[in-house]
């Protein structure tokens, strides 16, 4: 086919679900009502760490309106998102591990009755000493102090260690060595929609569950395991999700309990979590302490880096196994780094479990790295923008830890952002109290490996053509507001030369749609886009064949545009798309095709090399201008410039929307949000009023600059455009504050009291615990073989 201009891709079109969402027509999980439906509630532990001696539920079960009460004994099978760390229970069996850990579930005729019945359940707890910090977890090494029994070393979920290149020699070649410590506080996703699941168990022994989930396929597998039902008997439908940000990517207790209670009662059962419960379910950003040591030449060239991270995981593993690797994986993909050592450890604590949040495990090290580089630039007297520009990773290269970079638009991102923000004019030149800061970053466009080891596609798309010219696209992908349904419509419309509004998109239903692994790791556009193109092209082959015959035009002269199949040379020689479909169905029979996508093979093969791999890296650069009142230390962000290499913007309007949402979220994490706990393990303020997240009033003007590098692996060249924007904004805020008032805050969030303390020289540096890391896995580029590896 000849190169043609895009008709849909690159246009600022409306999202396919925009009208339904703005008119209130969208039916989220909690909007669903089924006849005879019951309401479920979970009884949650008030203690952070305790053994369960016994549970008495008979009084609750006798309450009028209560249909069933279940406890851990009813759902003993453990589950968890990662196959090797299945340490969660739908209802705690022997012990509870954080305040809010569920111990019993009821189904009743109303939420009020369900709530009332919880008060009648008696749980006999034997309180255990809670572990509430990274330091405590590392110190509690006695068997008796364990939070979990399965892990090798008490309270250490996972410790990893890598050495890429000769570290001793690397540091020996450096003119100067810099060392810093940082702390990134945990924070929550705070989607507007609270989690909800509605389950129905039919007379044919089939279970259907509607849930606000980002990962219906992984939920499908987990339900099958816990309920001991074959997957063929379970149908998972992801209802439209009112915001996910990573917080709805795990299989959850309320999903298991809704299903089990529906099976017991024979009635539909719905659970909707309260805002408070979402803080206990959590899976938010890990609190991470970090230590970084870098050797540089006097001109700022990086020689060697040693990075350590300590993750506070909370009570369960969740995605933690991946998270700990992610805190060390992507330091190497933005700037050339010849030697790199990484050590990371994730500990269990008696707090709600942490998991993936936008940027999954990479915003914390990115904050540390970019502030650290800003300090180095300052000490060496080099402009921080120049320091980066002189050592950017080249396109088509392999990093020291074996990650393959295809295209990179980082140089253009940095240069454009600096130009738009008038960096040279402003840096070091603004009056005291006003400052400008810079940072850059990289992110993955989809994880290179699936969560569970298998050789099947990561994404599948099926397309069916109707005799009337209608097109229906089926895909397991889940629209969580990011626009993945629209992406499918755009791709298929582009391929068939029709209006996206004429395409029906059916997604996230395990009975109807081929598997897509879910909306996480910014994988959806790249993977579903490629799968959709493949399916379209199979159908186009048939359509072109019949059109060529009908129009007496060679197939390679045909194109699809404006609802027609036509000759490119003589565009008037055309038949309508619908007519072409009719002819094709006459010739070939019922028309349908599938397409699928698996990421390419990767260069590295060491154990742990699976995390950080991706079809393509996105790159971002951000400049933040802010003012800080030196008397009150109140910070006002004046403007944020963000340049992002998204490969190709399918819809610039949607990409800008993702950009602005990311910047907003980043500012919240940088300046105010924190998931903090009292000594008794209670979340300090599990409410949307007292957990401080910025409002529109705190959100500054945001200027998004899109850079298109047309990556060969992406559909039409696209990379991710959902998470990467968040990463550079947080360190840019910290760097801008230093430019404004000359103090460094190395611990997030940057609150006014910390700034004031720092101004008075009273802010202590972040302390980092000592830990005996395992001996490192050593690897050098070139040592690998070209096969994907199990992580």
């Amino acid at each position: 086919m000849r190169e043609k201009k895009f008709s849909v891709i690159g246009k600022p079109l409306r999202k396919v679900d925009a009208l339904a969402k703005s008119t209130g027509d969208t039916r989220y999980a909690d909007d669903l009502e089924l006849s005879r439906m019951l309401y479920g509630k979970l009884l949650r532990s008030p203690l952070p760490h305790a053994r369960i001696r016994g549970i008495k539920t008979d009084r609750a079960a006798k309450l009028k309106g209560v249909y069933a009460v279940i406890t851990g004994a009813d759902l003993p099978e453990r589950f968890g998102i990662m196959p090797s760390t299945q340490d969660e229970e739908a209802l705690a069996g022997e012990k509870v591990r954080h305040v809010g850990d569920p111990v019993a579930a009821v189904a009743a005729s109303s939420e009020a009755v369900a709530e009332e019945s919880l008060k009648l359940i008696e749980v006999d707890y034997e309180p255990l000493k809670p572990i509430l910090s990274i330091e405590e977890a590392l110190a509690c090494t006695e068997e008796s102090e364990r939070i979990h029994a399965w892990n090798r070393r008490a309270n250490i979920q996972k410790a990893v260690s890598f050495e890429f290149g000769d570290v001793v020699q690397g540091f020996a070649q450096a003119d100067q060595i810099f060392e810093d410590t940082f702390f990134f506080q945990g924070n929550a996703h705070l989607p507007m929609e609270q989690h909800c699941a509605l389950a129905q168990y039919g007379p044919e022994d089939k279970l259907t569950i509607w849930s606000s989930t980002q990962t219906p396929h992984y939920l499908h597998r987990a339900l099958s395991k816990v309920l001991k039902l074959p997957m063929s008997r379970i149908r998972v439908i992801a209802a439209p999700v009112g915001g996910g940000f990573g917080g709805k990517s795990d299989p959850f207790s309320h999903e298991m309990c809704a299903s089990k209670l529906a099976m017991i009662t024979g009635r539909p059962v719905k659970f909707t979590l309260t805002r408070e419960e979402t803080f206990y379910v959590h899976r938010g950003r890990h609190p991470v302490k970090m230590w970084i040591r870098t050797g540089v030449k006097n001109d700022g060239t990086l020689q060697a880096m040693h990075f350590r991270s300590f993750l506070d995981g909370g009570g369960y593993s969740s995605y933690g196994l991946a998270t700990v690797y992610y805190t060390g994986a992507l330091q190497t993909v933005s700037y050339k780094l010849p030697v790199y050592k990484f050590e990371g450890v994730r500990v269990f604590t008696n707090k709600p479990p942490c998991g993936p949040k936008r940027g999954h495990g990479t915003p914390q090290p990115r904050f540390a790295l970019e502030v650290h580089l800003d300090k180095i630039a300052d000490k060496l007297g080099i402009d921080p923008v120049e320091l980066r520009l002189k050592q950017l990773v080249e396109p088509d290269s392999i990093t020291v830890n074996g990650l393959r970079v295809s295209t990179t638009g980082l140089r253009e991102c940095i240069e454009k952002a600096a130009a738009r923000a008038e960096w040279k004019k402003k840096f070091h030149q603004l009056p005291y109290g006003r400052g400008i800061g810079f940072a850059a970053s990289a992110y993955i466009s989809g994880a290179g490996l699936p969560i569970y080891w298998n050789g099947m596609p990561h994404s599948g798309v099926q397309i069916r053509l109707d005799r009337g010219g209608g097109i229906t696209v089926f895909c397991g992908s889940t629209d969580i507001g990011q626009g993945s349904d629209s992406i499918l419509a755009y791709v298929v419309a582009e391929e068939f030369g029709v209006d996206p509004a004429d395409i029906r998109v059916v997604t996230a239903d395990t009975d109807l749609t081929p598997v897509d692994l879910g909306s996480y790791s910014s994988r959806v556009t790249v993977m579903t886009g490629n799968a959709a193109i493949q399916a379209c092209r199979k159908l186009k082959e048939m359509l072109f064949q019949v059109a060529g015959e009908a129009l007496e035009v060679p197939v390679d002269d045909l194109e699809m545009a404006e609802g027609k199949v036509r000759s490119q040379s003589y565009p008037k020689r055309a038949i309508s798309f619908a007519e072409c479909v009719e002819k094709a169905e006459t010739k070939f029979g019922t028309l349908g095709a599938t397409g699928s996508y698996s990421p390419p093979k990767y260069p590295a093969n060491y154990k742990g090399s699976g995390v950080g791999l991706t079809p393509a890296y996105s790159y971002s650069a951000s400049i933040v201008e802010l003012s800080c009142d030196p008397e009150t230390a109140e910070i006002k962000v004046e403007k944020v410039w963000i340049a992002h290499d998204c490969g190709r913007a399918f819809n610039p309007l949607l990409v800008e929307g993702q950009s602005e949402g990311s910047v907003y979220m980043a500012l919240g994490e940088a300046l105010m949000e924190e998931q903090v706990f009292r000594k008794n393990g209670l979340h300090k303020f599990p409410s949307i009023l007292d957990y401080k997240s910025p409002t529109t009033l705190e959100t500054p003007e945001i200027e998004t600059i899109l850079i298109e590098t047309n990556d060969p692996e992406g559909p039409y060249g696209a990379k991710e455009a959902g998470q990467g924007f968040l990463l550079p904004v947080i360190p840019a805020v910290a760097n801008a504050l230093f430019d404004a008032i000359g103090v460094r805050i190395d611990e997030l969030p940057i609150t006014p009291d910390k700034v004031l303390r720092a101004l008075e020289g009273r802010l202590k540096p972040v302390s980092v615990p000592s830990f005996d890391f395992p001996p490192p896995i050593k690897w050098r580029p070139g040592e690998g073989v070209e096969v994907p590896q199990k992580s």
């Binding site: 008030p46 309260t274 805002r275 599990p686 008032i741 000359g742």
Partner: protein
């Protein structure tokens, strides 16, 4: 979601009937106007009334009379939006307009009333929690328990007085018109409050706030309200400074009042302000002295947003800025002890 418990809602036709109903029903009943604070607290089990007596539609509580003989009369049932937008309030008492307009969010100001705001329940992050949370924490004396979780040795509750409008009314010498069984009673706002997080209002239980009267004496006074909070919306004050000052033609201060909110369980009048400023031409040094005095009487504790150490520090800064705004004196920004690094290199 959190469900609102069952209750009986009664809508009386007059203020008198409302008062009678509340007296008859006793402690099981509560009055409700906008309900913006009350209903969420019922969901969390902080308030557990069986009966709610609505004040929402009572004509006696309505109206703003800007130039009545005694001063400006503001019906207690007027919404915060109405008060914040009223031209006469904006002209004479911009502090009050700003305070009313800074409460919570636009939607809640459309429901919430000024009467509700002056008596808004004191706040504490051990108390403003769900039943589950409070049970897990161990109940506090303000609801269901017997100790103060902020300071276990404290004999009284340390919940924080969190009204934005009350400190402004205190600073203007405003008077509450209380309707009781024996008719109307006038009580200056300054005397209505008590520094006790549980019993922070001294009015009798059978009295309802009918209106607020800002006396004519306050009409010529310059006034200002500065509010410290994390965000530009939603948040309650974690420090508020209301200041009012009368200056004569020679620029001599004839009266000066500074009142703090959200640093105790009641508004805190900075007595030193009147003593130091009245009868004098206000200087920068005097402002500094008042600010210093205000910081001394500001006693925030660790039970609302932002570090209490920081809130105490900000009392001085906010009072200074409030008085600078009233007097038009330009203050120098505080010298920062540490030399900024960028100055070393110079641009």
């Amino acid at each position: 979601m959190l469900r609102l418990p069952d209750f009986t809602y009664i809508r009386p036709k007059s203020l008198k009937e409302a008062g009678r109903l509340l007296a008859e029903l006793g402690p099981e009943a509560m009055a409700v106007a906008g309900g913006t604070d009350l209903y969420p607290k019922m969901k969390r089990g902080q308030f557990t009334p069986r009966y709610l007596v609505s004040l929402r539609f009572l004509p006696e509580l309505r109206g703003i009379r800007p130039g009545s003989k005694e001063g400006m009369w503001i019906g207690a049932g007027e919404t915060l939006t109405v008060v914040a937008k009223n031209p006469a309030v904006n002209k004479r008492f911009p502090a009050l307009a700003h305070a009313a307009g800074s409460v919570s969010t636009p939607a809640l100001r459309n429901m919430g009333t000024i009467g509700g705001n002056v008596f808004v329940d004191t706040r504490c992050n051990y108390y403003d929690q769900t039943f589950f949370w409070r049970q897990a924490a161990g109940f506090c004396m303000k609801k269901d328990g017997d100790i103060c979780l902020v300071a276990p040795k404290s004999k009284s509750c340390l919940a924080v007085f969190s009204s934005d409008t009350a400190p402004v009314l205190c600073s203007l010498g405003a008077v509450a018109l209380l309707a009781g069984p024996d008719g109307l009673r006038k009580l200056p706002f300054e005397q209505i409050y008590r520094d006790d997080g549980m019993h922070f209002v001294t009015k009798r239980d059978d009295e309802l706030l009918r209106a607020i009267l800002i006396p004519r004496a306050a009409f010529g006074q310059r006034n200002v309200y500065l509010k410290l909070r994390r965000r530009g919306s939603f948040d309650f004050p974690v420090l508020g400074v209301a200041a009012a000052m009368a200056l004569d033609r020679e620029g001599i201060c004839r009266s000066a009042r500074v009142v703090l909110t959200a640093v105790a369980s009641a508004p805190v009048v900075v007595e030193e302000a009147s003593r130091l400023l009245e009868g004098k031409k206000v200087s920068r040094e005097m402002i500094e002295a008042v600010a210093e005095a205000a910081a001394k009487v500001s006693h925030p504790v660790d039970n609302v947003d932002l570090d209490y150490w920081y809130r105490k520090r900000m009392t001085r800064v906010y009072v200074k800025r409030a008085l600078a705004e009233l007097t038009g004196l330009k203050l120098e920004t505080e010298k920062v002890p540490q030399e900024p690094v960028k100055d070393e290199k110079g641009p």
